[in-house]
């Protein structure tokens, strides 16, 4: 009888081990299917980028009685369109007017760039869920606020100063002419 129990326990252990092995060796169960990346478009451009910004910002929003708090890493850049630049040649001198700056703010592609930390509701039995449209509107507001901060902190002013120096050096070096770059709006063109 004891021998029979022993055999049964052994069989159970072997069976459990086999199932565990099968479990760990089988492919992971994922309900998410990732589709192949597609090239949407390729845009040729000619922009002088003088400042790059990396920042972590809190994303906070409230819609009705629901709240969201997240953390987001941003990549920003300040550049100048050289294709529509105003250039006047006067003998051996090239007079250039610095154009309006282009401020771009994207979410970083670094790992963990967007992390939702908490969503909650003030209602006792209400849902704390946010739709995509609601979440997008909160993120858009974060971007708009950050854009204002870029101007307020003087990053645009710094970018424009660098652009004057870089353009003078580049155009002067390449054309061999005396280049005078004028900046009609040193603080930038905040909308």
């Amino acid at each position: 009888m004891k021998k029979l129990y022993g055999i049964i326990i052994l069989l159970i252990l072997v069976g459990a081990g086999a199932v565990a092995c099968w479990w760990y060796m089988s492919p992971e169960a994922s309900r998410v299917t990732l589709h192949e990346a597609k090239i949407k478009d390729v845009t040729p451009m000619l922009r002088l980028c003088t400042v790059e910004i990396y920042d972590d910002v809190p994303v906070k929003g409230t819609i009705g009685k629901r709240h969201i708090f997240a953390r987001e890493s941003l990549n920003g850049s300040i550049s100048f369109d050289l294709e529509n630049i105003e250039m006047v040649e006067n003998g051996d001198t090239l007079n250039v007017t610095l154009p309006r700056e282009i401020v771009e703010i994207y979410e970083s592609t670094a790992p963990g760039a967007y992390q939702v930390i908490d969503t909650w509701t003030d209602e006792l039995f209400g849902s704390s869920n946010f739709t995509v449209a609601e979440e997008n509107s909160i993120k858009a507001k974060t971007r708009d606020d950050y854009r204002k901060e870029i101007y307020r902190k003087g990053y645009v002013e710094r970018a424009r100063k660098e652009a004057v120096a870089n353009l003078t050096a580049m155009l002067g070096g390449v054309t061999g002419k005396t280049v005078i770059v004028t900046d009609p709006s040193p603080a930038g063109y905040m909308e």
Binding site: T33, D41, V42, V51, Y106, A133, N166, V174, G176
Partner: protein, 207 residues
């Protein structure tokens, strides 16, 4: 003796702090472990590629389940009341640029005899400019007793999409090659129009 002991003790206490601060600096430079950073650059951005990535969420089909884990998950899904299907997408931007800080006076050569200007520009490089902050919801159908797809789950899906997209760009040279050739063409046209005015023949090379 006591003073020596105190000094040694002080060094021992300070050592971990000093080592930690060194590590932090190193990570900040190489690994971009930043919180906030503003950097002066001198880049001539020549082309930008928009890459779209899509992900779908659906229950695991028992007929297509492979292995124990998927079969178990498929069985669980089959028992749930209602459907849970969605599709999300967003765009990522890859850009090509020339780092003008690497340009030296020796890179511009003028041959008056043949009326030729030779420009040796730094190599075209590519980098991720970033991705859309917003995500597009291309489809959403959650019915019955199924749970909604919440912001946390969407953020996790976006993270998976981002990892897969970066791997694809790394593995398939088509992405970078197309962008780089577009950038070189743009650069060629720009400098030829800028310098070719006085009847000079302009040759643009990349290092």
């Amino acid at each position: 003796m006591r003073r020596i002991f105190n000094t040694l003790f002080g060094i021992l206490l300070a050592a971990p702090v000093m080592l930690t601060s060194c590590q932090h600096d190193a990570a900040g430079e190489g690994g971009r472990n930043y919180l906030s950073e503003i950097k002066s650059v001198n880049k001539l951005v020549l082309a930008q590629m928009t890459i779209s990535k899509m992900a779908t969420i659906d229950d695991i089909d028992l007929a297509k389940a492979d292995g124990l884990r998927q079969t178990a998950a498929g069985l669980m899904d089959a028992m749930k009341l209602g459907d849970r299907k969605a599709a999300y997408s967003y765009d990522t931007y890859l850009r090509a640029y020339v780092d003008l800080s690497g340009l030296t006076p020796e890179d511009v050569k003028v041959d008056e005899a043949t009326k030729t200007i030779t420009l040796n520009l730094p190599a075209v490089q590519t980098e991720f400019a970033g991705r859309d902050m917003e995500i597009r919801e291309d489809h959403y159908r959650v019915s019955g007793l199924r749970s909604h797809i919440d912001p946390k789950e969407r953020a996790e899906i976006k993270e998976q999409m981002n990892t897969a997209l970066k791997r694809e760009v790394e593995e398939k040279s088509e992405f970078r090659n197309r962008l780089e050739s577009e950038a070189r063409a743009k650069c060629d046209v720009y400098f030829k129009s800028l310098l070719g005015g006085d009847g000079y023949n302009v040759v643009v090379n990349f290092k």
